[in-house]
């Protein structure tokens, strides 16, 4: 078990290194660099000034030097400075991370509350109208773009209540009411899609588990249906659901680019788009590495949870 964990942790390193190389190269291949982007806004464009600015940012050094310097910084957990704003990247990210983290957590709560009861119910009543309604609800959730759901929410709120959610972010501890009034809508819009993914997994996993021998045994010895579902079936069916929830959560942290824009949220997704547009190399690199790290870490944690929930699994 400990050897397995150690091996898994070591295997994270080559993947992270690959992500680092990929994002570094990708950003250099994108035409135009940060200096051009910044001077494109002003009128004067003077070659000497551009060269000086590039030298200041260290962009005139050979690529391998730039890469190794950046990597060495990452190893020491020193994310460096944003090329655009000059602020420490850790600071820039921390500001947005609260918001993205809160949204991801709220969406996960919405998803779990919807997905597990509905998915279980659909599996228990397979091929009845309950099942069909639940499935159509889920497939519709996968089909509707979350950002469009956000727009529709605004339209409905405005038409019915003549009210729109606050547009300026207030941290939860400053004014929880204000904060929730703003965050509940994106959480619902994103959570619906998320719940659809999780519900489909719950349903198919439940269907599989319900056909197992031990469920038949439990029925045969006259256990209550409710007890069978809760204790015997659901606990085992939740394994794959957990994977989906973990992966989706990791995606929510950095992938909500469009939804954040609709709800005017200044989260990690918006920071992503802005920093790519500005060619803020250091910031994009740090962000991508962070998101990849979270994704890999979540995968790892889910694997560990598997072993805890299902002792039959052997780690090799």
């Amino acid at each position: 078990m400990h050897r397995y964990m150690l091996r898994r942790l070591l295997l994270m390193l080559p993947t992270l290194l690959g992500v680092a190389v990929l994002v570094f190269l990708l950003m250099r291949v994108v035409p135009g660099d940060i200096v051009e982007m910044r001077f494109a806004e002003g009128q004067f464009f003077n070659a000497e000034l551009v060269a000086k600015e590039r030298a200041r940012l260290g962009l005139d050094r050979p690529l391998w030097r730039q890469f190794l310097d950046w990597l060495w910084g990452m190893v020491r957990l020193d994310f460096g400075l944003s090329m655009w704003s000059g602020n420490p990247i850790a600071h820039e990210i921390a500001l947005r991370l609260q918001l993205s983290l809160q949204l991801a957590l709220m969406a996960t709560v919405v998803a779990v509350l919807l997905a597990i009861p509905l998915g279980t119910l659909a599996a228990l009543r397979q091929d009845t109208w309950v099942d069909y309604v639940a499935r159509v609800f889920a497939i519709a959730g996968l089909a509707m773009p979350s950002f469009w759901l956000g727009i529709v929410m605004f339209i409905i709120l405005l038409a019915v209540f003549h009210w729109i959610p606050p547009m300026v972010f207030t941290p939860l501890w400053e004014n929880p009411w204000q904060n929730l009034a703003q965050m509940i809508w994106p959480a619902l819009a994103v959570g619906y899609r998320f719940s659809a993914v999780a519900m489909r997994m719950t349903r198919s996993a439940m269907l599989e588990v319900l056909r197992e021998d031990y469920i038949r045994t439990a029925r045969a010895k006259g256990l209550w249906q409710r007890l069978i579902v809760k204790r015997h079936a659901l606990k085992n069916a939740l394994l794959p659901v957990l994977t989906v929830i973990g992966l989706e959560f990791a995606f929510l942290l950095g992938g909500l680019v469009v939804t954040e824009q609709v709800f005017n949220l200044n989260g990690l997704g918006l920071l992503f788009v802005q920093s790519v547009a500005r060619r803020d190399y250091t910031l994009v690199q740090a962000l991508v590495l962070l998101v990849a790290f979270v994704y890999i870490l979540v995968n790892f944690c889910v694997d560990l949870l598997y072993g805890w929930l299902d002792p039959r699994l052997r780690y090799q």
Binding site: M144, F147, W148, I155, M201, V257
Partner: protein, 301 residues
């Protein structure tokens, strides 16, 4: 009494007289067993027909501006209203289905096919090659999709073919992983060993013996990807990183004026979103039924 029941020979003759074509019988059986899938398939067929016959179906040209009828609400002349330039929304939705289907089909086909090839090759060769492929797949899966798409569009610029590229790239590793899992089982089959013993080349075994046997996951991934590609195209276009104006595309129609004037002209925001949802919905319904029919245990995330 004997007369009322037709003799067996006559029944046989009657049924032989009008045999349903095989594809229709298969389709009917599919519809009876998976009604939701049949609904999805029907919507897809209608969408394809509308896209092909767009010039005949659309009441106006999608680029035709009418400044006398800017922001017209749905009326008899403009069933779904008009946009900021007085362009007919219904016509733009109809032409937009061409963009959506083109992007959806091409990127799903290329992405799933390349992914399947990589997955099968990885499973077939095994050993170091397999390990290397799996590391590469892990790498791409950990890489945020939207950043990959952003980078591709920044390098190549906006436009339909570049968007297709941006959407296809992240699909390949995903499909490779799912197909590899099935291909590993096929790899153990005696006929693969037999083919090798017969001295066939690697290429021949991969294409002729292994690929046909992973068709089920391949087809399932393919249908699932069409819907996802349409959704991703809409997101990219909405961000201004996809298809460029004045091309009619659903995601693009939601950008700008649709959000700005959501209060006074809600039809601008509602209908294109409904079109996206309906299209993706149909492909998902059909894809689900296809999965149940071909490989019920496969889990497509």
């Amino acid at each position: 009494m004997m007369q009322t029941r037709p003799p067996i020979a006559a029944v046989e003759q009657a049924s032989r007289a009008r045999p349903l074509p095989r594809w229709l019988r298969g389709g009917l059986r599919f519809a009876r067993r998976w009604p939701l899938g049949a609904v999805g398939a029907a919507i897809i067929v209608v969408m394809i027909l509308v896209a092909i016959a767009a010039p005949l179906v659309a009441p106006y040209h999608p680029l035709e501006t009418d400044f006398a009828a800017q922001f017209s609400p749905p009326t008899l002349a403009h069933w779904l209203g008009t946009d900021a330039f007085g362009r007919d929304l219904l016509s733009r939705l109809i032409y937009g289905s061409r963009t959506a289907l083109l992007v959806g089909f091409v990127s799903a086909f290329v992405g799933a096919t390349l992914g399947a090839l990589i997955g099968v090759a990885s499973a077939y060769f095994g050993g170091r090659i397999d390990l290397l492929m799996q590391r590469l797949v892990d790498l791409f899966l950990a890489f945020p999709i939207i950043i990959l798409a952003l980078a591709v569009v920044s390098i190549l610029g906006t436009g339909v073919s570049n968007v297709i590229m941006a959407i296809t790239v992240p699909m390949i590793p995903n499909c490779a992983r799912v197909v590899r899992a099935s291909a590993l089982a096929v790899r153990q089959m005696p006929y693969v060993d037999a083919a090798r013993a017969a001295g066939y080349g690697h290429g021949r075994i991969i294409f002729r013996h292994m690929l046909p046997n992973v068709m089920a996951p391949y087809l399932i991934m393919l249908t699932a990807y069409v819907g996802q590609a349409i959704l991703l195209e809409a997101s990219l276009s909405f961000l201004g990183l996809g298809v460029a104006e004045p091309t009619a595309a659903w995601g693009l129609m939601l950008r700008g004026a649709a959000v700005e004037f959501a209060e006074t002209a809600p039809w601008l925001a509602i209908f294109p979103g409904l079109a996206i949802s309906l299209g993706v919905f149909a492909f998902n319904l059909f894809g689900d039924a296809l999965r149940d029919a071909l490989d019920p245990k496969l889990r497509v995330l």
